[in-house]
């Protein structure tokens, strides 16, 4: 089969994407497929039309590749592709939209407020920040609404730290959210097709838990897979993740991140195109489920060619 591997692009996560893409290409070659690597640029459509791949493996992260843009193009061109469709990607990419969708179906996600720059620049939203103490409490987490890999994500431990955290987050997107900080275990559930994979727990060894670098480098964060959870916890976590996956309209695969607090799981976000690098969580979860990386890649391709969600 002729498989186009879409990678790179102009997003800030280009580096991670190139690593994901390279690893997928290797696996596809070992599986005997004809691989067409494409570093996504302005000639994408032209190349896809000229090369007519049977399927596109989307290994892009961040704006452009994970937000539905590329998926929309592939839908127009009629090329089957891996991962969720354009609409689901757009919902996952935008944390505010994703949280809305999750809350709408009654699933727990930490309380939040979303602001765009205009609110501060033109409507004096800064004056409302003083109320955060009562509504969200401290510490709180400030995140760009669209962005990945923890880029621009900051803790604010007290009200005076909020403006600076907002300036950082606004460097990545025009909309940011301020989210109540939920203390607990950091978990990720990858879902492949309609099957939740074993839960991964990220255990930070050093540094700040929202450090961008720690997540992509061996040695700074330890990952336990499957996470040590009681049967009841496991069920609650998996059900919440699957519920979010459904609510967001995901197909193919996605990774749902949550915090397991004292009162149960809290859904943070879903990644429509989770990383596939050496240190990424989806491959680890698949391995714990008995799938080698090649088998994982093959399964992802199968799902692209015969899409099915969780029924």
């Amino acid at each position: 089969m002729k498989v186009a591997v879409l990678k790179g692009g102009r997003s800030l996560e280009r580096g991670v994407s190139l690593r994901s893409g390279a690893r997928v290409e290797d696996a596809l070659e070992r599986l005997g497929h004809e691989v067409l690597p494409i570093d996504v640029g302005s000639d994408l459509v032209e190349r896809l039309i000229a090369e007519r791949p049977d399927v596109a493996f989307v290994a892009m992260h961040g704006v452009g590749g994970e937000d539905g843009t590329v998926q929309e193009l592939l839908e127009i061109l009629g090329i089957p592709f891996t991962g969720p469709g354009a609409a689901a990607c757009a919902r996952c990419m935008d944390k505010v939209q994703a949280k809305d969708a999750i809350e709408l179906v009654g699933l727990p996600t930490p309380h939040w407020f979303a602001f765009n720059q205009t609110a501060f620049r033109e409507f004096g939203a800064g004056d409302a920040l003083g109320r955060l103490e009562k509504t969200l409490g401290f510490p709180l987490v400030v995140k760009p609404s669209r962005g990945g890999s923890s880029l621009g994500v900051r803790f604010a431990r007290s009200p005076v730290e909020v403006p600076q955290a907002l300036v950082s987050a606004f460097s990545y997107d025009d909309r940011v959210l301020l989210e109540r900080f939920v203390d607990g275990r950091e978990l990720a559930v990858s879902i492949l097709g309609d099957e939740p994979m074993p839960t991964v727990e990220a255990i930070l060894l050093e540094g700040d838990r929202y450090d961008f670098e720690a997540r992509y480098e061996i040695g700074r964060t330890r990952f336990a897979c499957p996470a040590e959870l009681s049967a009841e916890e496991e069920r609650a976590v998996t059900e919440a993740a699957a519920g979010a996956y459904r609510a967001l309209g995901c197909t193919g695969f996605a990774r749902v991140d949550l915090i397991l607090g004292d009162e149960g799981p809290w859904l943070l976000e879903a990644n429509a195109i989770p990383g596939l690098t050496d240190t990424s969580l989806l491959p680890q979860a698949a391995e714990a489920a008995g799938l080698s990386f090649e088998q994982l890649v093959e399964r992802i391709l199968d799902l692209a060619l015969s899409p099915q969600g969780i029924s």
Binding site: R10, R23, D26, F120, G124, Q164, L166, Y172, T279
Partner: protein
């Protein structure tokens, strides 16, 4: 005879070698600090052709006359092909050392040729010094900020890096003295002090004569080695020439590192180290283990190039070009950076160090700047401890004056957006001429153009 099968994967030597987990258990502990950083990922984006990169440290090689290059290489091919294609001595050719003596002589130094080793760029000289002197956990002192490229080297030898703040007169030697006292009371003896005293990378500052004298005295009194890295000494655009530490010390406690990269070409990968004989002996052994010898071909090229006796004119030409670019960048900074920003005004070298209000993180700013197609080095790259996050290094040697103006304009625009936003967030009215901030900056440099 068995047929040799056609290799099936031409693009890569071995499919599957990307699976890190297969090898992770084999890695040496020191590789734990050799990280592929997020910042490096961001820097990868700066390679896009539409990006004006003020991030690199590239000298301008576009003015080197191609006909001269061709003539020299032809001469080598015709007269010394066999030798130029052969291995050479580990220490480097005597003829290369003659060229090095000329370069060092231009700054008033006269080392013994036997104390010199020719290295594969100045970077290898740093590596060899570390290899020779550092055991895991040893204290090494360097400037804050320091040359970003020295940090991975120091860390890969597992040094405990301690940084001493700089001001506009370079490393604060009085702070160093205090640090040395503290370390002594803990029973720790630093292996060496690493310094770029002239037109420092990244800060652009130059150590004052008084501090140079004091540093050399300290080294002598405490038998402390100072590693003087001097890639830019001859690229002076203003001010008075300053004697290198090596000259002041005479070479007993100063290990000197030089390079042809900034006065001729970084592509030829030729640098050197000068060290006292017992240290040099070990460095030579380390060099032998690393790569046997420095490229013979490029040493021949340097020999031919120096024989033309034009090298100083070429440096003069570069100085003219870079002076213009520095002035352009300083002017662009005055026109485009906010009043709260400070920056250094270097008398030479390739870099300006700018510091922004402390609510601006320059790594985040870089993400924004890249969307505006401009890049710089975030200040954190010059520290081992996460400091420097409000500063940036700007290079003015590798891009032309129009690009400098446009690049600084674009950076100024994204900074202005951050400043406005912060003002809106905190309800602080924007003041046309806010008071000079003094405390929060990493480097207490005075604002350019102001009286000190």
């Amino acid at each position: 005879m068995a047929e040799v099968p056609e290799p099936t994967h031409r693009r890569r030597s071995h499919a599957g070698t990307r699976d890190l987990e297969r090898y992770a258990g084999l890695f040496a502990e020191r590789t734990g600090v050799m990280r592929s950083s997020a910042m490096r990922d961001l820097m990868a984006i700066t390679a896009r052709p539409e990006v004006i990169s003020l991030a690199g440290g590239l000298p301008d090689t576009s003015t080197f006359p191609p006909q001269s290059f061709a003539a020299q290489m032809t001469r080598i091919a015709q007269e010394s092909a066999a030798k130029a294609l052969q291995y050479g001595p580990t220490e480097g050719f005597e003829e290369t050392k003659d060229c090095i003596l000329e370069v060092m002589g231009a700054e008033g130094m006269l080392p013994d040729p036997d104390d010199i080793i020719v290295t594969t760029g100045g970077q290898q000289a740093i590596d060899l010094v570390c290899k020779t002197l550092i055991d895991p956990g040893d204290v090494v002192i360097c400037e804050a900020p320091t040359y970003p490229g020295a940090i991975p080297t120091l860390c890969s030898y597992q040094a405990d890096v301690v940084q001493v703040e700089c001001d506009e007169d370079g490393m604060q030697v009085e702070v160093l003295e205090k640090l040395l006292d503290d370390l002594r009371s803990e029973g720790r003896r630093p292996k060496f002090v690493y310094s770029v005293p002239s037109f420092q990378n990244p800060a652009g500052v130059t150590m004052s004569l008084e501090r140079r004298r004091r540093l050399v005295e300290l080294a002598r009194a405490q038998e402390l080695l100072v590693v003087e890295d001097n890639p830019y000494g001859l690229l002076r655009y203003g001010g008075e020439p300053m004697p290198p530490l090596y000259q002041l010390d005479g070479g007993d406690f100063v290990i000197y590192l030089g390079t042809f990269s900034k006065i001729l070409s970084p592509g030829i990968r030729l640098g050197w180290a000068v060290a006292p004989p017992p240290v040099m002996e070990k460095i030579v052994l380390g060099k032998q283990a690393a790569d046997l010898c420095t490229s013979t071909l490029t040493q021949y090229f340097v020999r031919e190039y120096f024989a033309e006796r034009r090298w100083q004119h070429y440096v003069d030409d570069l100085v003219e070009i870079y002076r213009g670019r520095r002035d352009t960048m300083l002017e662009a900074l005055r026109d485009n950076f906010p009043a709260e920003a400070t920056w250094t005004e270097p008398d030479g070298g390739l870099f300006i160090w700018a510091t922004l209000p402390d609510y601006i993180d320059t790594s985040d700013l870089l993400a924004k700047a890249l969307r505006a197609d401009v890049a710089f080095v975030p200040g954190q790259a010059a520290y081992v401890d996460g400091r420097g996050s409000h500063s940036m290094r700007l290079n003015f040697s590798g891009v032309n004056e129009d690009e400098i103006r446009e690049g600084v304009r674009r950076i100024g625009k994204v900074i202005a957006e951050q400043v406005d936003l912060y003002g809106a967030l905190t309800g602080e009215q924007k003041q046309p001429e806010p008071e000079q901030q003094s405390a929060p900056n990493v480097l207490p440099f005075r604002k350019a153009g102001e009286a000190g």
